[in-house]
Symmetry: C2
DNA sequence: ATGGGTGCAAATCCTTTGCATCTGC
DNA sequence: GCAGATGCAAAGGATTTGCACCCAT
């Protein structure tokens, strides 16, 4: 089913999936460029949107300066640095009651799709930096 | 303690607090303009940053196109429309285990500040629109 | 007179769009 | 030859910055 993807799309999906972090469009662009040097940034944006519309990747609203993309489409939570905007996956599961989520969705009229927990604070790097 | 705020800051804080929704910088600008017609957009941005640095309001990463501000500084969760970017407060509390949050923070090295649950899906308006 | 706060305009950054070209069929 | 995909450059929108000015001290 993924054979729908053309060469560029495939390369971009690979780039997002192989990235250790949550790459920005520019990160993806630079990474893909090594494989397809003539690709344009606009194409990267176009294809990132398509992939996320198809659910193959997730676009996460801006935590700091610009959008980041996530290759991991199954549920997981995030830790976000309020100082530098770093975005980290939380490697363990935070329990949520499905009951409550459904109730929350109903209360707001939302047709429940996905959900996540976000924790905010200063990351290790920023803690060090501040204490200098 | 809030007397530190000058007239513009006070007007901006009021604007954010009296807004029913989560206003964008532009929303705030337009609202404040009715009281202080000569204020500039840049000043609004500058003061919004200050207020949020002081913890009097919260700046929430871009859910869709631009940053929104939240006057409610105590913990609450959000419902976000994946189609139009609407951002709604969830009027009920979703339980989270502090244990798990602390563990998550520790696992990522984050100095735990705040946290929120986000649920994503289509809002009522977008559900209607789609079914036309 | 001095310094911080402010308005205005220009600059910046991320993202999208227009359009002519290229590609595979 | 056509339709869709793409590169490039220009446009767009949000936010920031530079700078001269103004006000309160």
């Amino acid at each position: 089913m993924e054979d729908i993807l053309n060469t560029n799309a495939r390369a971009i999906l690979d780039a997002v999936q192989s990235s250790q972090k949550h790459p920005t469009a520019l990160d993806v662009y630079e990474s893909v460029r090594q494989v397809r040097p003539r690709i344009g940034l606009a194409t990267v944006y176009r294809i990132l949107h398509q992939l996320s519309a198809q659910g193959l990747i997730k676009e996460m609203g801006q935590a700091s300066d610009c959008s980041r993309y996530d290759a991991c489409t199954n549920r997981h939570d995030h830790a976000i640095c309020t100082e530098c905007g770093a975005l980290l996956d939380i490697p363990l599961e935070i329990q949520l009651s499905m009951e409550e989520l459904r109730a929350a969705a109903q209360a707001t009229g939302l047709e429940l799709g996905s959900h996540e927990v976000r924790i905010y604070g200063r990351c290790t790097a920023c803690q060090t930096r501040r204490n200098e």
